[in-house]
């Protein structure tokens, strides 16, 4: 009696597990499961002001050491050449659905108005680190380029690869025009280190770490994400199934 009961329990447990694994890979069930992303986006946007700020910390609250994650050194010869050149010949492209595409040097970007913020970086994995970031508000770049009314998303093309495809990320206009959304060229009072995304990385402070594209080479305004790489709005979204909306 006892043995059968135990077998039953073990069988139930194993059945539950395979059941969940099967369900998790079933397209119809995934559609329901993945539907929660829209619910999360809707609810969080409903609850928060568009301009609600992420908490900013005091210098004494910063992490003693800020770890890097993902690519620590892009492999491409072009990036290596820029690095050797201290990014003197490097240019940021701002294009796509804009009236006036821009090509900006690092010095030009640094000459623009800056915002410095000490914020917490939350990785999707669960760790957090507090660092200081200095950069140009993305809004200023988009305004300077004259983003067209039809644009709905801003895509960030990066110098590093994930497998064979270049890293990319995207945000919608609520986050693109948020006052704390900056393209940072400085970190913790110094120039942005290579491992943290030199020369320029995105800070989009109400989002998890994978949205904060490093090594940004090009900012592209688009009406839809469908035609960009895998169509899901980012490298991790395309490759691993992370949520495009990374507010939670």
């Amino acid at each position: 009696m006892r043995v059968t009961r135990r077998h039953f329990a073990a069988g139930l447990g194993a059945g539950l597990l395979t059941g969940c694994d099967r369900l998790g890979s079933d397209p119809a069930f995934q559609k329901i499961l993945f539907g929660a992303e829209k619910l999360n986006l809707g609810a969080q946007r409903l609850l928060s002001d568009r301009g609600a700020l992420a908490r900013e910390y005091r210098p004494d609250q910063m992490s003693p050491r800020f770890r890097s994650n993902g690519t620590a050194m892009p492999a491409s010869p072009a990036y290596r050449a820029h690095l050797a050149d201290r990014f003197a010949g490097w240019r940021l492209a701002v294009d796509g659905m804009v009236a006036q595409p821009l090509s900006l040097s690092l010095d030009q970007i640094r000459a623009m108005p800056t915002r410095t913020q000490i914020t917490r970086h939350d990785c999707v994995e669960g760790w957090s680190a507090i660092g200081q970031w200095t950069g140009v508000p993305l809004k200023l770049l988009l305004d300077a380029a004259g983003m067209r009314r039809e644009a709905r998303y801003v895509v960030f093309h990066c110098a590093d690869n994930y497998g064979s495809t270049p890293y990319y990320e995207s945000v919608d206009l609520v986050d693109a025009f948020h006052p704390q959304t900056i393209l940072a060229w400085g970190m913790n009072g110094r120039m942005l280190p290579v491992e943290n995304g030199a020369p320029l990385r995105l800070r989009v402070e109400r989002m998890l770490g994978y949205k904060h594209a490093k090594y940004v080479m090009r900012v592209e305004a688009v009406a839809s994400l469908a035609a960009v790489f895998g169509g899901k709005g980012g490298t991790w979204e395309d490759m691993a199934g992370y949520e495009w909306y990374a507010g939670i």
Binding site: D21, G35, Q44, D49, A54, R55, C123, G126, A240
Partner: protein, 299 residues
């Protein structure tokens, strides 16, 4: 186990009364004296129970997979690999271990390092405890953040329904008499002796039951949901007070884990107690709402 004569044997006029002890004869209802099914659990309670049975298990198991992505816990606003965790589950080249403060517990085979399908794997929680069973942070998050809605909306609906159907007033309010230490101590002693409520008393929650359910409904679940929301960077911007309430994001993550462990503990105790008090009767009660009252014990 002594067999109790059935109704047919009785009618055949077997002389059993002298040979069968009285208390054994009371164990099972006889045909002549069936104990009726009596109403015990309200519909809202039953629905919520089974919705939660699924949602909580999915939350716990997908949560363990999310934990696997960074199996270290910290206190304060931040915490990453260069910072000192208060708890971590790791592996050396030979063993798996849990480290709490300076104490290291060898957990090889269960946590940190285990063998699965003949292959030695290093991961905090093993495949049988996680959803999905293979490492997949993205899919675990999908499960977790979808079923969080089931858990949260379910709790809210249950709270409202319980106000309306007076579940609160009838079943979960504490009377001055029952929160007297003496009464609580008596209930603890009864539980330790596996002496559970019988007769009409089984229609009401005991004080330990009430305190457990109140603790789960008003402390554990709200802490789980609150600390969960505190880990969301967008929620931090929307409701910055969450960070102050739970002492920062890394602390919220630690509290989330501790509360989840407490929830797992509640489930274990719950299932053990259900098993000890007539599992068929109890599960039927939670499905159709009616139970058969346990008979008075022969002292």
């Amino acid at each position: 186990m002594a067999r109790i004569p059935g109704a047919r044997e009785l009618s055949q006029g077997m002389s059993y009364t002298a040979s069968v002890p009285l208390d054994l004869a009371r164990d099972e209802p006889t045909a002549a004296e069936p104990r009726p099914l009596v109403f015990r659990h309200k519909l809202a309670t039953r629905i919520w129970h089974w919705v939660n049975a699924v949602a909580v298990v999915v939350m716990l198991m997908s949560g363990l997979m999310i934990f696997n992505a960074h199996p270290r816990l910290y206190w304060g606003s931040y915490g990453a690999n260069f910072d000192k965790p208060w708890l971590e589950i790791q592996a050396t080249p030979t063993i798996g271990y849990v480290q709490i403060g300076d104490a290291r517990i060898d957990t090889t085979g269960v946590l940190g390092r285990f063998t699965r399908n003949g292959v030695s794997e290093t991961r905090a929680f093993p495949g049988w405890a996680t959803i999905p069973s293979d490492y997949n942070l993205a899919l675990a998050r999908r499960w977790h953040l979808a079923f969080a809605w089931v858990l949260g909306v379910g709790l809210l609906a249950f709270l409202i329904a319980s106000l309306v159907n007076r579940h609160w007033k009838h079943d979960l309010t504490l009377s001055p008499a029952e929160i007297k230490p003496r009464h609580i101590w008596d209930d603890i002693k009864d539980h330790a002796r596996l002496k559970f409520a019988v007769g009409d008393a089984a229609l009401r929650y005991g004080i330990l039951q009430k305190l457990s359910y109140i603790g789960v409904i008003f402390i554990l679940l709200p802490v789980l949901i609150g600390t969960g929301l505190t880990m969301s960077p967008a929620m931090n911007a929307a409701w910055p007070w969450l960070l102050d309430l739970f002492g920062g994001r890394a602390s919220a993550r630690s509290l989330h884990f501790i509360a989840a462990a407490a929830m797992a503990g509640f489930i274990v105790v719950h299932i053990v107690l259900v098993s000890l008090t007539g599992p068929f009767n109890q599960v039927r009660g939670m499905i159709i709402g009616k139970i058969r009252l346990p008979k008075e014990r022969a002292e």
